[in-house]
Amino acid sequence: MSTPILEVENLKMHFPVKDGIFLRTSKFNKAVDGVSLKIMPGETLGLVGESGCGKSTLGRSIARLYNPTSGSIKFEGNEISKLGSNALKPIRQDIQMIFQDPMESLNSRHTVGDILEEPFIVQQIGDSVYRKKRVRELLDIVGLPARSTTRYPFEFSGGQRQRIGIARSIALNPKLVICDEPVSALDVSIQSQILNLLIDLQSEFSLSYLFIAHDLAVVKHISDRIAIMYLGKIVESGTGENVYQHAQHPYTQSLISAIPVPDPHRKSTRQIISGDVPSPIDPPSGCTFHPRCPKVMDICKHTVPSLIHREDTTSTACHLVSEEVVSEQVRSE
């Protein structure tokens, strides 16, 4: 088997919460709390979760915009979680990011030409003539006219700005692109244009994607495998089809049933879960989903379920699927 492009093991990213008049660190915001995942070359892993579940923090930790608290991040087999900024510079070429709001991630005082040329300047690639040529090529790839180089981001619509963000992310021929909610801010008709563009670019440049979004339908459409995150942990993962058809985790099940389906004939038998996502500063004990879980058992309140791998390559972190519990129940009956 080939080496995964990305292998993350037990990654933790805890942010200190300063409190009291001396601003002492008394608690930690456990935004990412022990996540393991793998992405093979040319593959898309979709990461789904609600706001505050830590999916963006996970993406940013992998791109090494943060210094992870513990755990390992292997990029093409090399450990990068502890590298300093100089050692990271060549890696930055290979791992790029696309952000949700292209208005905030593009410098409004720079022309589109400057924005797209900057990655080459930072990495000291080519002379001015070569860089200008590449910028025109990039604009062409993402479907913008070459004359855009002299214009500013505000002169473009949301969808076009996202195209500029995408052009910048693929400028240095990266291997892994982390897409953090790239279509959430866009209208439906524009969203499908951008999704098609991302799918085309992937096959043209053999990119691997970590695609982060809250919309399960969008994620399932673009991904080979998906992982569902809840409160800093991955609760279920597998191929899109397996997770959607045979979700085992009650959270995944309720997430799927909560999605409004654009079909008026399908009057839903909704399974609505009550309550809100708890704070990651003071997460519930045991399985963090237990206060909202419709199938909660005693064991869930004190024991953290581990990810159980099943035959159909799906993994689920839930006591309902863990064999010990099932066999215990059988014994007690």
Partner: protein
């Protein structure tokens, strides 16, 4: 129709901007029937929120102006009402819920004060009764320990809870019409399901009509009976939810429906797209607004705007080519 609670009739709303006068809503007509939910769907800038603000007479002043048409509520024209008369109607007969509950609530007043305020304004009751009714209302919208929540401030609540408070305020005086402008867009999908269910339940209980404004066709399909599809300030198509989802006639509606990724679609398959962009309100085309993006467009479409034609009794479409496949 006799059972129309609200009838928007050839409404035209304009805004003065630095670049000139723009027509945000251009000659739209639809009606909301008693006890039903009407959905208005469209992309950003299509005029769906301006329509709602025009009905409520809450357009930003002095830039926004209703320059034509009528808004008939229970038979009387709201555009002719004086502002004090409107104030009596708003919150009592017609209420509105906005997208962002944090901005809709006043951060420096307690939940209790904001809830009792609307009751004391519209009803002839004592403060004690208002407090009692407020607690009952919070309980009804599913807020746990409502008597404690009365003394809390908006920032102490989660997004979903805040939206419940906003709904409690909107429904406190039992209005006959609730206008909800993207009420769940800022919320997570599990919370969205809770709020939509809550609105449905309260609607059944109180028998009010709801106008739900959203960009999400899934939400429309789940909760609405009637739908208005808006595009660049005009009604593109209107009909029952079955008319629109089963046999959409306008190329824009068809494009929208085929461009959304669905849970059961083939992964990585090409999504249909609507090429191009919505025209700017400052340079609208002379003919059909959708002409520059439409696969069926020809000279007729570019010459003059298409009228709303009847497809069936319940279904109308504004397209010259709707009979073409």
């Amino acid at each position: 129709m006799s059972d129309a609670l609200l009838e928007v009739d050839h409404l035209v709303t304009e805004f003065d901007t630095d670049e000139g006068r723009v027509r945000a809503v251009d000659d739209i007509s639809f009606s909301a029937r008693e006890g039903e939910t009407l959905g208005i769907v469209g992309e950003s800038g299509c005029g769906k929120s301006v329509t709602a603000l025009s009905i409520m007479r809450l357009l930003p002043q002095p830039m926004g102006q209703i320059v034509g048409g009528r808004v008939l509520f229970k038979g009387a024209d709201l555009t002719q009402r004086t502002l004090p008369e409107m104030e009596k109607i708003r919150g009592a007969d017609i209420s509105m819920v906005f997208q962002e509950p944090m901005t809709a609530l006043n951060p420096v007043h307690t939940i209790g004060k904001q809830l009792t305020e609307v009751l004391l304004l519209h009803k002839d009751i004592t403060t004690q009764q208002a407090i009692k009714e407020s607690i009952a209302m919070l309980d009804k919208v599913g807020i746990p320990s409502p008597d404690i929540r009365m003394t809390e401030y908006p920032h102490q609540l989660s997004g979903g809870m805040r939206q419940r408070v906003v709904i409690a305020i909107a429904l406190a005086c039992k209005p006959s019409l609730l206008i909800a402008d993207e009420p769940t867009t800022a919320l997570d999908v599990t919370i969205q399901a809770q709020i939509l269910e809550l609105i449905k339940e309260l609607q059944n209980e109180m028998g009010m009509s709801v106008i739900l404004i959203t960009h999400d066709l899934g939400v429309i399909a789940e909760v609405c009976q009637q739908v208005v599809v808006m595009y660049a300030g005009k009604v593109a198509e209107t009909g029952s939810v079955y008319d629109l989802f089963d046999s959409p006639k306008h190329p824009y509606t068809q494009g929208l429906l085929s461009s959304i990724p669905r849970l059961d679609s083939v992964p990585k398959s090409k999504l249909n797209t609507i090429e191009g962009m919505v025209p700017g309100l400052l340079d609208l085309p002379a003919g059909c607004r959708f002409e520059n993006r439409c696969p069926r467009a020809d000279e007729t479409c570019a010459s003059s705007p298409p009228p709303l034609e009847l497809v069936s009794d319940s279904h109308k479409v504004s397209c010259y080519k709707w009979q073409q496949k």
